[in-house]
Symmetry: C2
Subunit: 345 residues, 2 copies
Amino acid sequence: MARTLAGLPTRGNLGVMHITILGGGGFLGRKLAQRLAAGALPGCTGLTLFDLHEPAPLDAPFPVRRLAGDVADPAQLRAAIPPGTGLVVHLAAVVSAAAEADFDLGLRVNLHGTLAVIEACRALPSPPRVIFTSSVASFGGGQSAHLPDDSRQLPANSYGAQKAAAELLLQDATRKGFMDAVSIRLPTVIVRPGRPNKAASSFVSSILREPLLGLETPLPVGEDFAVWVCSPRRAVEWFLHAATMDTTPLGLDRGVNPPGLSVTVGEMLAALTPTERALVKPEPDAHVAAIVAGWPASFTADRARALGFTPQEGVADILAAFREDDLGATLAERGMAATRTERGL
Amino acid sequence: MARTLAGLPTRGNLGVMHITILGGGGFLGRKLAQRLAAGALPGCTGLTLFDLHEPAPLDAPFPVRRLAGDVADPAQLRAAIPPGTGLVVHLAAVVSAAAEADFDLGLRVNLHGTLAVIEACRALPSPPRVIFTSSVASFGGGQSAHLPDDSRQLPANSYGAQKAAAELLLQDATRKGFMDAVSIRLPTVIVRPGRPNKAASSFVSSILREPLLGLETPLPVGEDFAVWVCSPRRAVEWFLHAATMDTTPLGLDRGVNPPGLSVTVGEMLAALTPTERALVKPEPDAHVAAIVAGWPASFTADRARALGFTPQEGVADILAAFREDDLGATLAERGMAATRTERGL
């Protein structure tokens, strides 16, 4: 943990610092906080979890502040990112379907929220490392794409446009010395715990999660449909790597396409038992198919590999991680505790 | 002028409309306004010129409003872009050196100003055509670059980052149906009238303008240094084409690299007389050279050609246009009227 923030004025050591997670009450923010509480970054001396609603309590060997607020409010952001902050993990976002349905809300959180992060970091006595989650949705390309690292971002949705614009602003803020940013363009994260939602990508998690719960689920696309995915575990590992890596090799270009997994629906279903697989019911949905067909299904991710980001494991490992990390909580959340007991989980 | 704004709800005709020029008091805004006053878009029924300072009066066969205001103020922008506006030409900007010196001012005008344009257009009963001036400064690449049309924008300056982010937001606003935007990434515009300024690119105009005025001027780079340029005349022609072109072929991608001219300093100097050329004094400047060396010196511009944007003429034509259009005013501005008379201009 003694690696310096190369090329930028710094305390010279990431080992003694406050850490702030914006979106700290969310799915990935919570997992990252738990890893920090378990000592993943040993020098962490305090943690602020900031979200729209007050994040749940967290047992940790350091003080944990839990703040509810608006990420686009500069004063609240300054309070969330106090002097002494060495790392800001900016996960707060209005995701794809929501940003498409409410343009103003998406712009406010995804763009103005990022501007507030820049302002808060700039006000610190020394520039913190900032990890920003951008998205595969900031690219086009579609099923046939195998995008090289210098691919242009031409988003076909407001979420992707706001993320790509935020990346440009964080890149410039880094060049100006206000922060030391790494933007990780996350693949579709599977298996998401909880319930199906209205995101067009919801089915990618549902076709694995619902059968594990013993429930039927619709499949809106064909089995040859390919998608670029990562597991929540791998995403959190990438955040931890981005927190401590030497950023000198990034130069001006702070965006990273991490080494996810390009996998077809058929390959995902093959990881289920025959009984589980029978619960996935083909129900072609032209609306969903039209949206997801625009997403690139694969990236070379050569640069990220060279930077030390570890590749996503296969589907069997993704399923095993879900069983270990999230199946129990998902069953409980959905009132299926009895079922859980019956099934000996 | 009867071409429709294809693919968007519209009055169906660009021939009857109000036009607003943001930055209407500036160098290019003024030239465009003069072309409109001379009938370049015959159906123009009224013109609003908006700038930081009240633009000068303009003789025109239609009413001309001249407004002073802040382009980042949403209320002022709504007043500047009234119902009935069919075309907004958004030239208001804090340019490269100024945006680098004052980060907040650049962000305010270049990013928040564009957000205010989006809000004002969205409030109109039907979406207007919007012409936005982006810049070659939004790209990297350097002297050896010959950038294809799908090149990624990786700006090395705040101005370029803000312009590239604004392009993404205008693109998304177009996809949402709030407007019909065309972003023209202007080359370095030569010959700029008036005086040398602090922009790193100032010398590209100065090495032609100053000798024509009989004045010495320093040359901070070598004669083999190449630059991507266009004339003010050609830039205004591109605006007029973008105002009336069929935008259907643009699809999602609203950014255009227009067909400028890649020219070396030596080729520019060769267009001067030997007497004029002797006034250009080599004075290597490592600071200026370091900035300008990052700019791409050439683009393929194939897409823009196919879209009907006409290519930039050669240096001799650029010089002739400056003599016709701007030399007199430049002499007058600089108190050189006597010299002008002596030289028979």
